[in-house]
C-alpha cells in the first residue's frame, strides 16, 4: 500500500533549527491549542444544553448497567454503582477516541492540502479535547465517590494523574494505526463498532476482572484495557494502591502499543495528503 521513498529527503532549516517529530509537535503547540479550542467550539456552540449531552450519554448507560447488574444479573459487589463509575468513563473515553480515529485525518483534508503541518497534531488535538471533557466527568465521579462511597478521600487517589496518563498513551497508541488504515480502507468505520462491542464484553467494564476464571486470567490481561480498567477499579473504587506488577505491566503494554502505533502512523503519514 505505501511506497517508501528511496534516496529522498526533505531538509527544512528554520529559525528554530532542523526539525524532528518531537520538536515539530512542540513548535506546533499553538496549532494544537487552536484545534482543541475549535473542536470544543464547533461541538458546543449551537447546542443549548452543550456539555450536558456529553455527560448524559454515559450517565444513562451507567444507570441502565447499574440497574441490570445489581438487580437482575447480580454481580456480587457492594456499592455496584461506585464500581461501575470508577471504570466506565475511562472505557467511554477510549471508545470515543478510537471512533475519532476513523475520520480525524479525512476531516482535515482541506487544511492538509493547503498547509504542511505534522499529522500527529491532528491526533493529539482530538485526544486533548476529549481529555478535557473526561476531566470534567472525572470530577463528578470523584465527588460522588468521596461523598457517597468512601466518605473521605483515599490516599490512592494520588495515583490518578498517572492512570490518566496511561489512559491517554494507550488511547493514542491505538488510535494512530486506526487513523492510518482508515485513510486507505473505508471498512474500518464499519468494523470498528463491532470490534468495540466485543471489546466492551471482554474488558472489565461492568464486572471486575477478578470474576474471570484463574486459568483465563493470563489470556484476559493480554487486553491492555483489562489492566487499565482494573487499575481504575483498585484506585478509585477500592481506594487501595495497586500491585506494582499490575501498574508496571499496564504501563509497559501502553508504551509498546504506543510505539507500534507510532511506527505504523509514521510510515504512512506522508501519503495522507495524497490519498484522502
Amino acid at each position: 500500500m505505501g511506497v517508501i521513498a528511496r534516496e529522498s529527503s526533505v531538509v527544512r532549516v528554520n529559525a528554530a533549527g532542523r526539525s524532528t517529530p518531537l520538536s515539530d509537535v512542540w513548535r506546533y503547540r499553538g496549532m494544537l491549542r487552536s484545534l482543541v479550542v475549535r473542536n470544543l467550539k464547533v461541538k458546543y456552540q449551537r447546542s443549548a444544553l452543550g456539555f450536558v449531552w456529553t455527560f448524559l450519554n454515559p450517565l444513562l448507560t451507567v444507570g441502565i448497567l447499574a440497574a441490570v447488574f445489581s438487580r437482575v444479573v447480580r454481580i456480587p459487589i457492594p456499592h455496584y454503582w461506585a464500581f461501575l463509575v470508577s471504570g466506565y468513563f475511562t472505557w467511554n473515553f477510549t471508545q470515543q477516541m478510537l471512533s475519532t480515529g476513523t475520520y480525524v485525518i479525512a476531516e482535515h483534508t482541506g487544511l492538509r492540502r493547503s498547509v504542511a503541518f505534522p499529522n500527529e497534531v491532528l491526533v493529539l488535538s482530538a485526544a486533548v479535547s476529549r481529555l478535557l471533557e473526561f476531566a470534567i466527568e472525572l470530577a463528578f465521579v470523584l465527588l460522588a465517590l468521596v461523598l457517597l462511597h468512601h466518605h473521605g478521600v483515599p490516599a490512592s487517589f494520588a495515583l490518578l494523574p498517572l492512570l490518566v496518563v496511561l489512559q491517554v498513551v494507550l488511547a493514542v497508541g491505538l488510535v494512530m494505526p486506526i487513523a492510518t488504515v482508515s485513510v486507505f480502507y473505508s471498512d474500518v468505520q464499519h468494523a470498528l463498532p463491532i470490534a468495540l462491542m466485543m471489546l466492551f464484553y471482554v474488558s472489565p467494564v461492568f464486572y471486575p476482572a477478578a470474576l474471570v476464571p484463574a486459568g483465563l486470567q493470563g489470556l484476559y490481561f493480554l487486553n491492555p484495557l483489562a489492566g487499565l480498567l482494573t487499575l481504575f477499579h483498585v484506585v478509585l473504587y477500592e481506594g487501595r494502591f495497586p500491585a506494582p506488577a499490575l501498574l508496571a505491566g499496564t504501563g509497559a503494554g501502553a508504551a509498546v502499543l504506543f510505539a507500534l502505533g507510532y511506527v505504523v502512523f509514521n510510515r504512512y503519514k506522508a501519503l495522507f495528503a495524497e490519498v484522502v
Partner: protein, 247 residues
C-alpha cells in the same frame, strides 16, 4: 554566495492512483487468496527529476501547461507532499497559499478561522495575537469577520486566506494561482503587498497563468513541461519561447 532559499535536486514525484480509492478489505482478501497482486495502484510520474535553485530574495514564476507539475512542485516545496526521490531543501520560514481558504471551518467565524490558520502555519499564540489586527485590516471584509465562514462569498474567503498568509511574514512565500482572486482593488493591494515582500528580501515562487501580473513580480521564469524543467531564465525570454509553442 548566501545559501539558497530553496533547492530541489533530482526531485521525482510518482503518484499512485489508487484505482479503488475506497478499496475494501473484502477485495484485499479476495486478491490475497487468489494470489492476484494487490498492487492495483498505477504509478504516474508528475515530476521526473526537478532541479531548481532559488536564491534568497529571488522571485520566480513557474509557468507551463496544465498537468506539467507546477502545483505538485509547489506542494513538495511546501512539505505537503513528500518526494519519491531526490532532495528538497528550504531555508527559512515558509508559507504556502494553495487552494485559498480550503482549510477554513464553515461553522467558525472568520476571526476564529484566521487564528486557526495562522497557528497551523506555525505562529505561536502571542504572534497570532500580535498580527491579528493586521490580518483583519488587510482582509478588509468589515463586520463579516465575526460571522461564520459559511456565509462568506468565495472572494471574501480568498481575501481572508491571503491576508493570513502574508501577515504570517514568511521568508519564503509560495503562491498557487491565487493572484486572480478578489476585486480589482483587493488585487491591487495584494500586488502592493507582494512588491513590499520582495523589497524586504522575501523569496517568492509563483504559479500563475496570469502572465501580465507575474511578469511584473518575477524577473525569472521556469517553464515546466511534463514534469521537467524545459527552460529556465529571464522571464521575457522564457515566456516568448513558451508562447511560441503554445500559441
Amino acid at each position: 554566495m548566501a545559501a539558497p532559499a530553496v533547492v530541489c535536486r533530482g526531485v521525482v514525484k510518482r503518484f499512485h492512483h489508487y484505482e479503488h480509492r475506497t478499496t475494501s478489505l473484502r477485495e484485499f482478501f479476495i486478491r490475497t487468496v487468489l494470489r492476484r497482486p494487490i498492487h492495483v495502484r498505477r504509478a504516474q510520474f508528475t515530476l521526473r527529476g526537478l532541479d531548481l535553485r532559488v536564491a534568497r530574495g529571488e522571485s520566480v514564476a513557474l509557468i507551463g501547461s496544465n498537468g506539467s507539475g507546477k502545483s505538485t512542485a509547489l506542494r513538495l516545496m511546501a512539505g505537503i507532499y513528500q518526494p519519491s526521490e531526490g532532495v528538497i531543501e528550504t531555508r527559512g520560514a515558509l508559507a504556502a497559499v494553495i487552494e485559498l481558504g480550503a482549510g477554513f471551518h464553515p461553522e467558525l467565524t472568520g476571526a476564529e478561522n484566521a487564528e486557526l490558520y495562522a497557528s497551523v502555519m506555525g505562529l505561536s499564540r502571542a504572534e497570532v495575537a500580535a498580527r491579528f489586527p493586521e490580518i483583519v485590516a488587510f482582509a478588509d471584509i468589515g463586520d463579516f469577520i465575526n460571522e461564520p465562514v459559511k456565509y462568506y462569498s468565495s472572494g471574501m474567503q480568498a481575501r481572508l486566506a491571503f491576508a493570513v498568509a502574508v501577515c504570517v511574514r514568511p521568508d519564503i512565500l509560495l503562491l498557487d494561482e491565487v493572484l486572480a482572486v478578489g476585486d480589482q482593488a483587493f488585487r491591487e493591494r495584494c500586488l502592493e503587498r507582494l512588491r513590499a515582500f520582495r523589497a524586504g528580501g522575501g523569496t517568492m515562487i509563483v504559479v500563475s497563468h496570469d502572465f501580465e501580473t507575474v511578469r511584473e513580480l518575477c524577473p525569472r521564469a521556469v517553464w515546466m513541461h511534463h514534469g521537467l524543467v524545459r527552460m529556465d531564465g529571464e522571464f521575457g525570454a522564457v515566456f516568448e519561447a513558451y508562447r511560441a509553442e503554445h500559441g
